[in-house]
């Protein structure tokens, strides 16, 4: 049973009462919320997320709770609460969905050290994964979105969740937050993914979430093994340039930007070294997405 098998009214009843138990990739989450607008958008985005049994034990118990309920709508607020901790100040109610997304990211990044959490997009064909580590602004999210549009499935856009024992990336299909100018660029280039509303002037600028496609949800239980690492860098009018990266450079770039590389200690060092040594890695400079994707397909073989 998944979220869409509940009507909006049923979802609201559960979420504002006993709470719903959901499975986001490897994480079990209890969600309670009394904000029907947030829940409606949540239902639309996460339509194929599995509902878990009522007594499932969860990693996080998250509340999206309305505040200033009797104030005019524009003054109403929402608060993110995980197990009694409040990582952020309250947000305007209209920004409940991005707050949930950032809040869940915060939970994973600060508390889930049983995984190595790399900062990268991960997409796959069946169980063969392409890893896209990148600095903010390099066009990683946009490229990830276009890869989905051309038949790849999404494991994650923000967290490369690497299982240290299974040596595989674990899927957690979540919306891809496009920021600022990439929003218009993606629309202009005819991206077909469904998306949520535009949030203006958030702490990360303008944000618009692209929702994962059905294909990605269909394979949300299938781990993928890393077959290719590409460091994308978008540059206007640049011609396509693909160059092999040396393992020591790959190691540095993978780990410098990881969320908990230091925290995981020795096990993460071995895992990252293995990834850098064994997985072919390329620097990928591009301006035209289609050509970049065609080249990636070639490299994957």
């Amino acid at each position: 049973m998944n979220i869409q098998s509940l009507s909006s009214a049923e979802l609201f009843d559960f979420a504002s009462g006993p709470g719903i138990k959901l499975r986001f990739g490897p994480f079990f989450i209890e969600l309670k919320s009394d904000d029907e607008d947030f829940l409606a958008l949540f239902r639309r985005c996460y339509r194929a997320l599995d509902l878990e049994r009522e007594d499932a034990v969860c990693h996080f118990r998250i509340r999206i709770i309305r505040q200033r309920k009797f104030a005019p709508r524009s003054k109403q607020q929402v608060q993110f609460d995980v197990d009694g901790q409040l990582p952020f100040e309250p947000y305007p109610r209209s920004h409940a969905f991005p707050m949930f997304e950032w809040g869940l990211n915060w939970c994973i990044a600060t508390m889930s050290h049983h995984f190595l959490l790399l900062h990268c997009g991960v997409v796959a064909k069946e169980d063969r994964a392409l890893v896209l580590p990148a600095m903010p602004g390099s066009g990683k999210s946009t490229l990830t979105a276009f890869l989905l549009d051309s038949g790849w499935r999404l494991l994650s856009d923000e967290f490369g969740i690497y299982d240290l024992t299974k040596k595989a990336f674990v899927p957690m299909p979540r919306p891809i937050p496009l920021k600022n100018e990439s929003i218009t660029a993606a629309k202009a280039a005819g991206l077909r993914l469904e998306h949520g509303p535009l949030y203006e002037n958030t702490r990360k600028g303008d944000v618009c979430h692209l929702f994962p496609d059905a294909h990605s949800f269909e394979y949300q239980r299938l781990n993928a093994h890393p077959k290719l690492i590409a460091f994308p860098s978008f540059q206007k009018r640049a011609s396509l340039e693909v160059a092999r990266e040396l393992p020591h450079v790959v190691l540095t770039r993978l780990t410098n930007n990881a969320f908990n590389y230091m925290v995981c200690g020795e096990s993460s060092f071995h895992a990252a070294t293995e990834l850098a040594r064994d997985v072919p890695a390329y620097h990928l400079r591009y301006s035209e997405v289609d050509r970049a994707i065609a080249r990636i397909d070639e490299l994957m073989g």
Binding site: Q85, M111, H113, H114
Partner: protein, 355 residues
């Protein structure tokens, strides 16, 4: 806190397949900051395997983080040794940093937020001058009143920060504030500190660590880390028991510093909620003998171990009483009045920015 307390008190009696029980226990462990301690506790009772996978993963996530923090503490202590190692007086590590440096029982699953050290009051100018010279600065900008407060009414310097250090450094010259109603100067504890092998640092004896932890807990305003501190004490007690020291000796020592009541209250709480089973002659006897002990036990129940079904009113009343009890203990009434007036009325007015 019912579920979590049950795991710590008597884990073998529990039905571990109850999902609601686990959700409540994990929620409480997260709030109380004892998630990694929970893992250690279950492992020591050979019950780790009975915990559900998601609960195991949640606890492991915290344990890995605590492991990282402890490694960082050891590293920063080695850096600190380079800063302070040649000073001609003993530097005593307190609480978390001491447990970790000594690899003592309470360090299992124990995180820390800052590094606490203790030196004799006469050594404060020397250590402060050295730290400032090496680039340590006060963590927050201090008002003239803050400066007065730390120098005259407090038992520590303002918290210090250094760019090479992740943790703040709290330099104490006493274990309790000089304004406290109970307790006397603890400088005598310096006579019996123990050198920590392989470092330039010292630590208090196990008995004194226990007395300090109890005094700290019973004079802190919110009891936020109440459960963690009680678990520390419970582990320290096991260590004390392993030596030849007797409980009578422990209480005699506490009495010497005027800290018998906080020790007694803490041990009663350990006894009632953590199954520590040590208070002599018996907890019941103590409680039946003194109304004050009963009230304190009630407050600790309400603040540290609130029952799920318990009315919010009781929890609120207990924390209010705790606050007043702490304030009463911390400074004489007129001083408290002055402190509150300056902090709450005067400073906000003079600091108000023109609009």
């Amino acid at each position: 806190m019912e579920q979590l307390a049950k795991i710590f008190e008597n884990p073998s009696s529990l039905n571990f397949s109850d999902g609601d029980f686990w959700n409540a226990a994990l929620n409480q462990a997260r709030k109380a900051g004892v998630m990694a301690k929970l893992e250690a506790h279950l492992r020591s009772h050979e019950l780790w395997e009975s915990a559900p996978t998601t609960a195991q993963e949640t606890m492991q996530g915290s344990s890995i983080y605590v492991g990282f923090i402890q490694q960082r503490v050891r590293y920063e202590l080695s850096l600190l040794e380079r800063h302070l190692g040649d000073l001609p007086f003993p530097i005593v590590l307190l609480k978390g940093a001491a447990y970790i440096a000594c690899d003592a029982r309470p360090s299992v699953g124990r995180g820390v937020r800052d590094i606490d050290i203790l030196v004799e009051k006469r050594c404060i100018p020397a250590i402060e001058a050295r730290l400032l010279e090496l680039g340590w600065t006060t963590a927050e900008e201090l008002s003239v009143y803050d400066e007065y407060y730390y120098r005259e009414l407090s038992h520590e310097l303002p918290p210090l920060r250094h760019p090479d250090f992740q943790f703040e450094l709290d330099v104490h010259h006493d274990l309790i504030p000089p304004t406290m109603r109970i307790g006397t100067r603890t400088s005598e504890m310096f006579g019996s500190t123990v050198s920590i092998p392989g470092t330039c640092f010292h630590c208090l004896t196990k008995e004194d660590q226990l007395i300090h932890s109890a005094a700290h807990l019973m004079t802190s305003e919110s009891l936020v880390n109440g459960l963690r501190d009680l678990l520390d004490m419970s582990a320290l007690l096991l260590e004390v028991k392993e030596t030849d020291a007797s409980l009578e000796g422990l209480f005699a020592r506490a009495r010497k510093f005027g800290l018998e009541t906080p020790l007694l209250d803490s041990l009663i709480a350990c006894d009632r909620h953590l199954g520590t089973n040590v208070v002599l002659p018996t907890t019941e006897e103590y409680l039946s003998r003194s109304r004050v002990r009963r009230v304190t036990a009630w407050i600790i129940d309400g603040v540290v171990f609130p029952k799920n079904s318990q009315r919010k009113l009781k929890a609120a009343l207990a924390s209010t009483m705790m606050w007043w009890k702490t304030q009463y203990l911390r400074m004489p009434f007129w001083q408290l009045l002055k402190h509150a007036a300056v902090k709450k009325l005067f400073l906000p007015i003079i600091n108000r920015r023109p609009t």
